[in-house]
Subunit: 460 residues, 2 copies
């Protein structure tokens, strides 16, 4: 039986797979730093060799930035479903280095973990997929489904070139589902499938008073101060129950479902621990919802930045002529980014006192998404993880947005299954990043099962 053989391969080749993953992690492929350009090429070459060695014909495909590594295997035939596996080979800068207690690019093994920048985000997790593919190729000589693999090198710098790439190669990338392992478990030993993401709208508002900065002594008390106006406007954006006051803001919100409330209430979320970790006095959010509900299922409005007047050291007695703020909303199904952005602008215009003029610039936006948890691809993921980890995954949503998910889901119209294998406190983007060896093992096993499960889902 092919699944058994593949699992056995993972077991027998365990040490070799771990050693090669360590080689992968040792390449400091920091996309943000020009000094690592050679390492970025070297890391791409490492993946080229890895994919070539398992019998694929990978390609380095140019973008406006770092190359995309792409490979496909379509010999399962047109009747079999096609899976697109996404990952990224670039990593965050390790800096600042002081807080690290390990060398960021030594890939040291200790306490059952591989330590290093990129070990969890995303090299270790993409390696679970590579290991599963290799296990099938080296045993059965084939896969149970068609596979496309896209590993980019710009995720940590915003994936700026990916939307163009995906649009340009939409036909090539066509698939029945996208698998991504770039999220985490909900708690250690509790792998998660993320089925919902919040959307986003983002705008910058500026209010203008006088046409030039003024001396606060010569004009203060008689001339409108745009910081005062802005503070009043911003203070009016939430009511006493911490609900957003933008008219119509909640009109289209898909209410939280009973099973979600119930399931989430049972997740091991320690509010006291969370407060301590954040170093805050207390939590604050929309009345009537728990913290996870506020983060996963409710729309929010946050001021991301505010500026106006003098911000340097010491005292400057200026009455500034303008002030501004960056404001974003996290959106949930079935809100529309452009609609909320417009409603927010209208509300700000209504709040702006007549003493100032106001301009708005609409910026980044993205739609919220949620895949039904009974979707055949999600269900396949659930069964695969159950077998791979020996326990059912939990269903989580994400407070943030993953633009790549929205990109695949909107541009390709493909369901995206987010299989989170790494530790929730894995240190991604921070010091002492790690990937557990047992997480690698269970993740790779889950992926073997996933390919098998996928073979039983009819292609669309």
């Amino acid at each position: 039986m092919t699944v058994e053989a593949a699992l056995q391969y993972l077991e027998s080749q365990h040490n070799a797979l771990i050693e090669r993953l360590r080689d992968f992690i040792r390449i400091p492929s920091v996309s943000a730093q020009k000094s690592h350009a050679e390492d970025m090429h070297c890391c791409a070459d490492f993946l080229m060799k890895t994919l070539t060695d398992m019998g694929l014909q990978p390609r380095k495909m140019p973008t406006g930035g770092w190359d995309v590594i792409y490979a496909e295997w379509l010999e399962a035939g047109p009747e079999a479903p096609t899976i697109l596996i996404y990952g990224h080979y670039d990593v965050q800068p390790p800096e600042p280095l002081e807080p690290w207690t390990r060398q960021p690019f030594d890939a040291e093994i200790d306490e059952g973990r591989i330590w290093g920048r990129g070990s969890a985000d995303d090299k270790g997790q993409i390696w679970t997929h590579i290991a599963a593919l290799e296990a099938y190729f080296r045993t059965a000589g084939r896969l149970p489904v068609n596979i496309k693999i896209l590993i980019e090198g710009e995720e940590e710098i915003g994936s700026d070139n990916l939307p163009g790439f995906v649009q340009q190669h939409a036909e090539m990338l066509k698939a029945d589902a996208v698998l991504i392992s770039d999220t985490s478990q909900f708690a250690p030993g509790m792998p998660a499938i993320t089925y919902g993401l919040r959307g986003l709208c983002y705008l910058e508002v500026r209010v203008q008073g006088a046409k030039m900065d003024l001396h606060s002594g010569g004009y203060g008390g008689a001339v409108p101060n745009p910081i005062h106006a802005l503070a009043e406007m911003l203070a009016a954006l939430h009511d006493a129950d911490n609900r957003v006051t933008v008219p119509g803001f909640y009109d289209d919100v898909t209410p939280l479902q009973d099973w979600e409330r119930e399931a989430w209430s049972k997740l091991p979320f320690d509010e006291a621990e969370y407060i301590k970790m954040l170093g805050i006095q207390k939590l604050q959010g929309e009345q009537g919802f728990s913290t996870l509900e506020r983060l996963w299922a409710r729309p929010t409005l946050e001021i991301n930045g505010i500026f106006g007047g003098y911000a340097g050291p010491g005292a400057k007695t200026v009455l500034p002529c303008w002030a501004g703020a960056k404001i974003s909303c996290r959106l949930v199904p079935n809100q529309k980014s452009a609609d909320i952005s417009k409603k927010l602008e209208n509300h700000l215009r209504a709040l702006a006192p007549e003493t100032v003029s106001m301009t708005v610039e609409h910026m980044a936006g993205g739609e919220p998404s949620a895949f039904p948890t009974d979707h055949p691809w999600i269900k396949a993921g659930e069964r695969a993880i159950s077998k791979g980890f020996g326990r059912e995954p939990v269903y989580t949503r994400l407070g943030g947005s993953i633009p790549i998910v929205q990109l695949f889901s909107e541009t390709l119209g493909t369901p995206v299954v987010l299989l989170g294998y790494c530790h929730p406190d894995c240190g991604a983007h921070g010091p002492d990043e790690f990937f557990g060896i047992d997480e690698f093992t269970a993740g790779a096993r889950s992926n073997v099962f996933m390919l098998d499960e996928a073979a039983h889902i009819p292609s669309v």
Copy 2:
């Protein structure tokens, strides 16, 4: 008669005095720019020569920065009053140069004006005093009063070394009154005596939420946002009537006097023109007071700067861990700077929600001041200007603070008479600065009368 002779000297030497003033203006004594160090020395030497030529023994006195030029003539005797004349020989940088329609250091004469950086602020105005002294020395060979002259070179960069200098030389600088011509007429042809200045207290407040910046997707809606807290606090600092809500803020305010309300209401202040000049929709200030009253006689609270989160280009989805603001109050007699600063801090602490922690840093401060308009030295100024300009001066207060005035008035305990001769729109600190030739003439004449008037005030 000595006054007549002095006036005649001004008339007969008019062209020569103007030519020498042009020489003075042509020296680009920009204290802020190191590249003008040689010019600063050259300008100090110009004054040394000027004062020497009229028979004084001026000294270049070192400070931590640019030299002070100091001279004194005490031969009027211990029974006669002593006047300290203050001015500054440094000028603002002329940059940006684009808006200038004249060369900033050519001292061109056109339209009855001398055009150039520093022509009004303060070279032209200090020159009116030098001309008056010279007129007496060259005609009577003596002055009717004792004179001390202090001309500093750091006024445009904050007079950082002057407080130390004045304290160190308090005995040397002892005088019955200080005369300063560094303010302006209220309107063209309407010379002004400024008898009141607002004081200042200034603080920076910071509110802190979580101990680190957070992702607004991952935490937004559940974790306190310090920008929200700050906006609420700042919005609560004024009520609907634009009165400051700090408890006890107005307790010690000396009420506006009837004669001030009446006199100011008759000043040619064109509100429509003012609004147009500022480019604002409408004025805004404390209910129940006119614009001049708000600016001159009422205390204010202004936010001078606000900052927190992301202020760069584009969108960053950060939930910042802190935000801050710089807040200052302009104070009027009989408020105390430290008292209001403390009351403001207490009020902010009361307004801060329990979701954030708050710190306050108290910064610059200064007491308000007002000299009674029936003070003998003020009255002497009124008579001098009446004769010099052929019309009575108007009594004005200033919305701002002049630290030098407070320095002299507090350190030396001396009344300060502010004789404003230049045009209210003279371009000080901006492009196309000018000093009217008739302003020079009337100012110098007023100063001749002032020295004569001063001789009749008993020394204290």
